[in-house]
Every structure is written in structure tokens, then in C-alpha cells.
Symmetry: D3
């Protein structure tokens, strides 16, 4: 069960309106690695966690925090759209500087959302449930989380570099710091789980059931030997259970697949030598 | 530039047809973490890598391998659909065992693809470009890759447990082994990069520009203290640059946001005290 | 800013596991009119409300409540999936009753989410940001909200009729009651706004700018006169500003559109009489 | 069965080409609340109406009208794209005014559709079947329709304010007038149904089956009391069957959910105290 | 402008209800090659045709016909869902034959659409605007149309083979016949255009601007020589302007691409030899 | 199984960076008819081909070639984004020429992909599996392929006309030439199949099962007789099995559909005359 207070956790006020920045910040709201994604990802993971109350609590702590991040960004976007000219745009565009902004802004900010944020990314794709991961396996999911915080901080940092608006920078410096913590934090949780389970997800599958003879091979499918010099191509594997091998010339083990002709009533194309019979 | 040979890298032959297994295996072809995802993810990352030829070669080695994985699974799906009854299904359903299979199979396998694989997941969602990550930052992307291989192996293992078809198990034991290697391999590549750059992505952003005072805090937004006992809530952070803090009662730093009324011509709802003026 | 407590607002415990019911309940989580939709719709509306703090507070009250509804349903789905057989499904399907359940269940519940809820609807479509409305105009949006609560209660009621599991019915009887209140509540909010503004959205557009001569006409485009007997075809319009008219035989006012040929370099098909010139 | 005549119901001729306006008008063709949505929504509702021929006729009258609205807008878009420079754009962009237009236009209008309209919105998202509602319950659906006409008129009005092209304004003044009628008309149909059935959708569910003790409560989940002053928080509810209650401090009725551990073969993360057993 | 009459062009009455057939027929309504696709494809092409009134008229004739096809199928689906048990499904499933139907049916037919058709395909994917083609080039688009009618007839024929319901067969025999005509008709229109323009789309691009030295080569990228025996690998090309060539061993003409390092502020991974400078 | 070499089949170097051209070229990578579509379409068709090794080999030859086309375009996009200003964009936009480029570029190229290509089209829609066709019927699919190559060449040609960058033109002249060959090649394969099977897809369905009396009719659903003058309206049909007929005034053969009322527990709106009974 959730409660809300009206105060923002951190301030979200630009120095001045800027419809192009509003468009860019949408990536951090509704993009693949935006705040909607991390909020929903952590909450679904938390709600589905079976046992493991320490991790469940952690997921729900952070999932709840992230809803507040959407809130701060939505507030920022609304303020960046203050005074955005709905009317008489065609006249206004005679000024080239104004023209560049009006032609580049997200038209849905004016037409659809009435100067409010959208649940979409910076090019207008709606946020999708298929952006998130929640598998029931915490080590797998914490890796998804570490990735999300890495991509998210990278994007926030890039937008930070684009702007000279101190208010926008102030909010981004908060989000960047939180993404730093969340990387530090998922990395710690991953280390804890890997210590218990080893590095392979899932740890519970008996390894004798997999093809162990090919489980440490790097196949050189792209000509050139540079990849053979990495740690992943020689020495004991990180899981401690095998030796990395570099396979310079990968060969097929399987045969050419010949598929059985489909029955006539599929109306597939029949093999040429069967066609006589059907006429 | 790519070349193809007709032989499969590994065999892909079920012991017998099974339309329900064909439907499940679609998750490994066109699901969020299926082979289309890893193939495209590694290739786009490889094509976009600037410098770093060792990693570029690695990405292209594995991306190329993964196209062959789609091929093996597509072959397996086609064979699992052999003899699938297109005609007279309604009569056939009078047998309950047949009925359960026909009602549960993916109808597009019969109607749309003519007993071939689809570029879709196990419930029929088409594969989407938004499943993949390619950011230009290799540490971020290798974390995406480690996650993808973790989720992918988890899914393959779950399907392995469902079946007693030895041919299907044989192919899955290959895919599981390759996912093992790829976890071992991305983990090694990540270790190499983290040693150089530290654990925070991106490493190149000057940390004094972020809000360092909040960059190590765990906020207790979900009531209950279990999360405070983790490694992420105490001691020196994994990045070595701060001390984890547990904030038992998070307080807002920002104010309640009051948004400026929109201009009349947005035709937004006006604040009640401004409405008199517009009538 | 948001806070969470672990207790559910209402209990969410089925009498027994049921993977088919888990699949159906996904409609109420991630469907077009599920709880993800109303939660996000009310929060985005609330965050974007300019002035009008009474409505803003209301939106945030209810948006926050709805996140808790997702939580209760996600918990219910996880419990309905307890004991769901991952392994040896093919053997289990020899029992027809089990076969019907296994063939009908959502395969992603077993393969992808590890017996947890998915951010998707009952056929597996991921939730999308394009399901929600947030326009800046509260009367428009409250109509969207009343619609959402109407469709949502209808769906919950239909699922209620399908089941004989008392635990599922108990949760649905809560959700149905809340949808009742929310209909009652948005209807009251709409009445309040319509009293102030009239019934046309937006109320701020000067009506003399629209084609008032056609603003009260029902055009009989589908042969048959039944629609002419409704209130919308005669008498004073509900907005009080015109008389409804029934137009028995609608006639075109515009001409046949003749489009100008495209320049050669669009490589469109040229009109036949221009083609000679380009060869 | 449908018939078509070539004449447009109303004229659709801009004063001059304008590729940016063409992009904006796409929202009214293929957006969430564009003409494709209302056309398909009314037709699917009409085709699915069981009995109730008065409403069925109405739905088919208006659904048929709306196909003609797509036609007028598609014609307008094609004309706004007349003379749009496909060739030598890079040279043309040296003029800043031209540059603003070319950089802001929808590139698919030039590359993909050859200066014709697209079945997409103003940022290029394709129209989707999931935009529409058709539930079998006419009161629910008429609320969806009233919402669609409200959002649609709002968007048309906003675009009207942006332009000074009299031809575009003329078409918009027609569409705005029709949206006025359709609001007036759905409101009348809703009033008629509510008089028969009451305001709750669906009216046929026995209310004693829902949790009537919570069916009139406004829960104060977002701190602040402003919402308590509304009509929805006091007095007899609009449905006449209960009294609105304001719950100042909502308390949970349910317990903390503890989920049962998943079987080993799901390969979920096991609760810590069970992990010893699996090694 | 469009008109509608209530009569169906052809009858649409199943012999008896069948929820599984209702699900399958959705492919013909809202699938990639269903009737929504051809209706919208022909109408958008027709509305965008510049000059060429013979083709424009043809497109609008057939586009209008296809809306009536959606109508017939939507009617058929609604009737196939007559008597579909909404209530007490769990009890009903104790009968295995009923169980197979209830577990296999589209749950949205019961929960969402109230026994009406959905704008979706047979696995529930909503119809999308991106299914259609409308390019401004009629020869290109007529090829899209011929493909759509080929795929559409193939799907209808496959469903015909599945059923023994004479009413369903009767409607399908109509749709199959119309798809026959439409193949015959687009083939004739294509022949007419190819005679005028030649077979290459677009015909208006000066061929000396393309790399004519490689414009007739079949590259043997997949090992095996079977494809070399086709008409496309020898003799004069169908366009009459070159000789087909079979290139047994394709060789690269380009260099290995080395991408320029990105500026520091993209926060991409820097090439290893540049990293020293940034610390 | 696939192999890769690092060399590009053809060079992919622009004369100079150009972020707007990078955005446009995305259409050829991840658009409906871009290289991802043809690569995946041909590979899925090839992998699913049953027998017919000549066509299977052809499909795999060309599918493999097309992966290399994505690679060349991804390389070109990365180079067009060289030196793209991530930082200080707001200052840079004071120059109108720079402003037009920065406001028009794809913001995800800077924020998300770090100056690399995206698996998306020119307006940012992610590539989708639902773009491709693979039906098991080769004649149907080769028509899909001919269409794809026609639309693809058309788009490439349009972009060619827009640019004056010789490096971009050089790559496009390669892609245009390959699209020429592929049109020539699919046309030849189609001719071969049509000679064997006739022009109707599928050829294996017994024609007496379709409504032959309506299988050659052009219905004049859009007023105006221009379409009656085409080859498709008179003379022997191209399939040689009937005579084209022009039906000047199409009449319905079916009745007005009256749908049976739904059971009470669907909670559909009841027909007015049944409502008394339920109260």
C-alpha cells in the first residue's frame, strides 16, 4: 500500500522554459531505461519475490523511490513547457531561432498533453511493459537492474552535457547521484548472491545436463584474432569449473536440415517432385 | 560481410512433433531475451564500436554465432510442427488429448506461417527493436549482455524441465552451454573494464558535478528495516569513493510544485480563479 | 514523493492455485483498462494539473491508491501460480483436466516470469503508455477516467462470474466496489465542471469560429431511420445552444478532390498524360 | 455494406503547402483520438450491438461519417505536402526558414508515403487497434465515445490556434463543429441510458456481491485535504445508494503478503534457508 | 464520402457457436493481412493518388468493398461467440471437451469485448497502421496489394480446411472468391503498368546513377550451388537491360570500417589508448 | 551457420558528418521495408522452406547478403554522426543553421545510442517482427519479396535525390543496384512458379469450393465508372478460368444481421425489451 506527499524529494525547476529540453527529458521518463521502467521493474520484482525478505524490502524501497523520480521529471517537463506558444506558431516561425525550436519540439506536447509530460520517450514511442524484466531469479534480475542504472546514468549524463540551464542541471545532478548509488547498490547485492551461488544463472541447474564440452569455447565466427587475446579466451573460467578455449575455425556438428514436406492442406508450396500428384 | 553454410552448428531434431513445444520455443527465438535479441544486440554494438578492436571482434564473433542459433531454433520449430493437423481440427478435437494440444497451440503456426517459425515470442508478440541495448558505452552494454545471457539461460533451463523429448533436450543442452559460456565471457569482459574504469558507468563524468551528499544513501521508502542489513547499507561503497548510509526516514527537500497556469489558447482547464476572466 | 508499507490494503489470497485464472486476471493488471492504466493516468494527470489544487489532490489520492491495486493483483497472480508444474508438463498432460489447464495457461508465466505477474494483459500484450489520457483539460480527462472505471468494473464483474474461488471473489468484490466509488466520484467531478463550463470540451473555444450551421446535425449515413427517434435528433441540444436536426439524406458540400501531380523526383507514379515527357 | 462517392463532404484545401502543418494534422488522422480511432470504435461497437437497433443505427451512422473525416484529412495532408522539396534538401537548408521546416517535417512523408498521409500520429506512431473500446456494454462504450470526442475536439482546437491558413481553419471549423455535435449526442445517449439503468456500469451486477462498506469511500492517499471539499466526499452519492465518506487516514486491512517458495525446477532464487538443501 | 446499408453483402451465419473458430477468424479481421489491412491500404492509396483517376477509382471501389468484409467477419465472430459461457467456467471445465474450448478461447472475447469481435489478430496483437503500404508509386503499391491478396487467400483457405461448419465455410468461400478476383485484378493492373514503365520500381530513376556493374549479380553467400540453376542467374534479365551473372565467390570491395573515436562528452567507451588522457 | 569478415562488401563513407541524413537513413535500416526486414524475411522464409532446395538456397543467399547491408548502413550512420555535438547544444543553437540541424536530428542518436545506429526507422519506431512475411507458400512470399524490393528501392532513390554528399550517394547507388537485381530476380522466380502453378495463390485449393459466380466481378462501390475501363473489368481473366465482369450497382445478398442477445452474466447492455426482466 502506498502513500504520497505533495513535496518533491528534490527541487525540479528550470531557469527558463525550453521545449526542446522538455522533449529530450522524455527519454528519462518513458524511454527503455527511463524512470517508468525502473519503477515498474523493481515493483514487479518486489511483488513477485518469494521469501528473501531482505531483497524484497530493498526492491520495494527503490521501486517506491523511482515513482517519485517520474514525478520530479514530469514536473520539470511541465515547467519547461511553460509559455510554449500554442497559438500563431506560423507567424512566430519567421524568427529563425524560434523556428528551430518550434519545428523541433514534440508536437504532442502542444496538441495532446496540453504542456504536460507524456508517458513516452524522446521520439514519442509510448512506454511499454516489455521494457522490464522480472524473472523470479534475483541474480538474473539484479543484473537487469545494474544494466538499467548504467544505461540510465549514461543518458542523464549526456543530457547534462547538452544544457546550460542550472535548474535542469540541478535535477540531473540528483538523478545522476541516485543512479550512482543504485549501481553501487545492485553491484553489492550481486556480489552477495554470486558468493552464495556462483556466477552462472541459474545456479540450480545440474551442469552435467548441459553440453560441458562446448561450455567454455569462444568460436571465432568473425574473421580476425583480436578477441582471442582477452581473458575470456584463455585460463580458468570465472566460474572456476572449466578452461576457456579459443576455437579458431568453428566447424558445424549438425547436418544440413531437410524439412519434411507439409501436408497438401497447408497449401504450402509443394516440393517440385510432389506437385504432379496434386493436379 | 556475412557467409552462410547450410549445415547447422548443432543438430536440431525432436523425437516427435509437438505443437505446444513449438509454441514455447518461440520465446527463445523472438522473446525479449531470445536469440533475435542477442544477435541484433551484439551486431549493433559491434558495428557501432569506435576503436577497441578487441571488443569489436568479440561482439561480432558472438553476434554472428547467435544468428545461427535462431536458425537452429527455427529448424526445430518447423520439425515440431510436422504433421500438425491443419484440416478437420474440429473433428479431431473430440479426442481430449488432441483437443488440449490443438486448443493450446499457436494458431498463427497453422494459419499464418504454414508450419514454420515466427519472429515472435511464446504468446505471439512480434520481436521489437526496442528489446536491444546499444549505447556506445561498452561497460554499460556488457552489463546488458550479461543480463540477456542470464535471462536467456534461465528460460532455456525452464523449458528443458518441461519436456521429455530427447531431441529437444539435446538442442537445449547446447543452448544452455553456450549461455553458460557467454555469461562467463561477459563477466570476464566486465571485470577487465571495471578494473580500468571503476564500477560506475559512465566513468568519464566528473563526480563533483553530481550530488555526492546523496550518492551513497539507501532511502527506506518501503516500511521495514530488512534492507538495512545488506552490504549496500553500510561500510565503504564498492566504488571506493564513499560510505553507504541508511536513511531511515526519508524527508523531502523540494517544495510542493505549483505549476503556472497555461495560456488560454491551450484550452487547458483554467484555475478556478481565472475562469471568470475568460467568459 | 511516495511511501510504501508492506501490508496490502485488502487481502489477496485464492482458495487454491489456478493458472487459467492467473492468465485472466492479467487483464486487470496490464490491460487497456487495467490498474496500470488508471494508476498512470491519474498520476500523469495529477502531476500536470496547473492550479486547481482540489482536483490535483483528488487525482493524486486515487492514482496512489491504484498502485496498491496493481500490488494486490500481482500478489494474487503469484499465488494462483503456486505449485504450477514447470517440470514434466508433457507427462502431466496425459490427464485431460490437467492438459486443458496447461495448454491454456500463459506460457510466459512459467518461462519468463517464474510464477510472477507480468506487466501485460490476458493475451500477453505488454502494457503501453498509449493506453492513457492526460490532456491538460480536466473535463476531458475526467470523462476518460469515468470511461476507464466503467470498462474496468465491467471486466472485473465478468471475471467474478467465471470463478467459484472465494478468495478470488473476495478481492474482486473489493475492486468492484472501488470501481463503483470511482464512477460515483468522477461523475460528481464531471457534474461540478459541467456546471461551471457547460458540456462542450473545451469550453474556452469561441463557438463562432466553428461551423455552427452543422453543429447540431445527425447525418443519416447508415440507411434506416431508427436513430432519428433518439433525444439527440430532436429538441434543444444538451448544451442549450442549438436545436438537434436529423439530416435524412446527407449531401456532399465539397468537390471531388483532384491532387496535384508530384514532382518527378518523388518517383511517384506520374499521371498517364505526363509520362511521355519523362522518358 | 458500404458505398462511396468521390465528393468530399466538406472542402479540404489549404491556402498553401506547409509540411509542418501536415505533420501536426497526422494527430487527427492516426492519433489515439484521431478519426481512425472514432471510425473503428463506432463501427466495431455497431457491428457488435445485440438488439438495441436505435443505438446500433446511431453507431453506424456516425462510424460511417468518420471514415469520410479520415478522407478529408488525408486529402488536406496530401495538399499541404504539394511542392514539398524531395530533392536537394541539403542545399535548400542554407535558408534558415526553409531549414526549420525541412528539419521539422516528418521524413516519412517524403521517403515513405510520397507526399501522402500516413496511418500514424504526429510523431509517427502507427495507429493501433488497442486505441479503441468496444465492450458490449453501451453505457460504458458511450462514455468512451464522449471522451474520444472531447479529446478530439480539444486537439483540433489547439491546431486551429496554431495556424493562419484559412483553408486549414475552414476544415478544422467543420471538424470542431462535428465534435461538438458528437459530444452533444453521446451526452444525450448517456443521459437516456443512465435514466434507465442508473449511473453504475454495469447495472446488472447485484450490488450485494461487492464490498458495499467501502464503495463510497474517498481514501486520502495523497497528503493534503483539498480533495475532501468536493462533492464526491460528502452527501448522498450520485447513484443514490450510499453516502460519500472521506477516510482521512487509510489503514490496511490485509496482511503483509508472504509468497510460498517456488519449486526447485522453476530455477527461481530460493529463500536463503532453503538453499543449503539444493547444493 | 461514405454511405452504409445494414444488409450484409453476403450472409455470415455459422451453423453453431464455436469460440475457437471465433479466435481463428480474428486473423482475417485484424491480422497483418486481414481485412482491416486491405481496407485501410486501398483507401490510403486511393486518397493519395495524384491524377490517374482510373486507378484511383479502382482503389476506392475495392477499399470500400473491404470495409464490408470486416463487417461480415465481425458479425460471424459475434455469432460464433453466442452462448459462450461467461459464468461458472471453472465448473464447466470438468468436462474435457468443454475444457479444451474454454482454455483455448481468446479470453478477451469474454472479458473485454463482451462476445464481440476485436480489432486484433488470432493471438491478440492489435492491428497496426504499420501493416499497410501506401507509397505514392502505384506499381510498388499494386505489388503490395497482390501480395496482401495472396497471403489473405492462403490464410482463408487454411481456415476453411480446419472447419466442418457449413455456415463458416460459406462465408469463407465468398472471401476466397473475392481474393481470387483481387489477385486476378491486381495482376492485370500490374501488367498494364509494367508494360508502360518496365518492371523496375521506380521507373523514373536514371539507371546510370546506380552501380550497373553489380545490378545483375546473384552473390552466392550461402554455400551450395542450387540457386545458380534458376532463371535469375543466367540469360537476359527480365528488365531487358542486362545479363544475369552468378558470382560464385563474393569478395568484399570495401575496407574494414574503423570508426572515429567519439568526443569525451558522449561518455562512450574510449579507445584504450585514449583513456590515459582523461583520468 | 554463419561466418563474418570485417570488410564491408562496399564502402560506406560520407564526405562529411550530417545528423539529419543519419536520421533519414534509419528508414533503410529499421523501417517497414528496410534491410532488417528483408534480411529477416528471407532468412525466416529460407529456414522454413520444405524441399525446393533451389529456392531455399536462393533465399539464404540473399538473406545473408542483406545482413551485410544493415552493416554498411549502420557504419554510414555512425560516420554521419561523427562530431555531432553532444555538449553545449543550447549555445550552439544560436547559429540558425546549426539550430535547424540540432532541432531536427533524432535525439536518441545522441542520448541513447552514443552516435551509433538504432534498430528503428526515420521517426524512431522500433523495427518489428510483424513487418515480415513467411507463409510457407513460396509464390505468396516471393510476391511479398518483390513488393519489399520495390518499396525499398523507391525509398533509397528518394533519399538519393535529397543529398549532395557523394559518399552517401555512392552507397545508395550500390543499394539501388542491388534492389534492381532483387526485383529482377524475384520477378524471374515468380514467373517460374506462375508457369507451374498458375497465378492464384494458393494453387492447391479446389476452385469448386469457392463462390465461382462472384470470383471475376469488379463491384463499383465507389461512384464513377473510370475503373470499368481497365483490363480487370473485361475479357478473359489472367488466370484463364473466367471472364471479368463489371457490376455497376452492387446489391446485397445477405440480410440485416440481428445478433442474439447475450446472456445476463456478460453484463452487456440488454435489449430494451429484455431489461424489465432483470430488475
Amino acid at each position: 500500500m502506498f502513500y504520497h506527499i505533495k513535496e518533491l524529494q528534490f527541487e525540479a525547476k528550470p531557469d527558463q522554459p525550453n521545449a526542446l529540453m522538455a522533449k529530450k527529458l522524455q527519454e528519462l521518463i518513458g524511454g527503455q531505461y527511463g524512470e517508468m521502467s525502473v519503477a515498474m521493474q523493481y515493483l514487479f520484482q518486489g511483488w513477485s519475490t518469494r521469501g528473501n525478505s531482505k531483497y524484497k524490502d530493498l526492491l520495494l524501497d527503490i521501486g517506491t523511490e523511482e515513482i517519485g523520480h517520474i514525478e520530479m521529471l514530469a514536473t520539470m517537463v511541465a515547467r519547461l513547457l511553460d509559455d510554449c506558444p500554442i497559438e500563431d506558431q506560423e507567424a512566430a516561425m519567421k524568427d529563425p531561432a524560434v523556428g528551430a525550436i518550434l519545428s523541433g519540439m514534440n508536437p504532442q506536447h502542444a496538441i495532446v498533453s496540453g504542456l504536460g509530460a507524456r508517458p513516452s520517450d524522446s521520439v514519442g514511442n509510448p512506454w511499454m511493459g516489455s521494457y522490464i524484466a522480472s524473472s523470479g531469479n534475483l541474480l538474473a534480475d539484479f543484473r537487469a537492474n545494474l544494466n538499467a542504472e548504467s544505461q540510465g546514468r549514461l543518458q542523464a549524463v549526456r543530457i547534462y552535457e547538452m544544457t546550460d540551464d542550472q535548474g535542469v542541471k540541478d535535477l540531473l545532478s540528483v538523478l545522476i547521484a541516485r543512479d550512482s548509488y543504485h549501481q553501487n547498490q545492485w553491484a553489492a547485492a550481486i556480489a552477495e548472491l554470486e558468493e552464495q551461488e556462483g556466477i552462472l544463472v541459474p545456479s540450480t541447474f545440474p551442469r552435467e545436463k548441459e553440453r560441458m564440452d562446448i561450455a567454455y569455447n569462444l568460436y571465432n565466427f568473425s574473421e580476425g584474432e583480436e578477441s582471442s587475446t582477452g581473458r575470456w579466451a584463455q585460463g580458468t573460467a570465472l566460474d572456476g569449473q572449466g578452461e576457456y578455449q579459443y576455437v579458431q575455425q568453428p566447424k558445424p556438428e549438425g547436418a544440413k536440415p531437410i524439412l519434411k514436406p507439409a501436408p497438401l492442406k497447408t497449401h504450402n508450396t509443394l516440393p517440385a517432385d510432389m506437385q504432379a500428384n496434386t493436379k
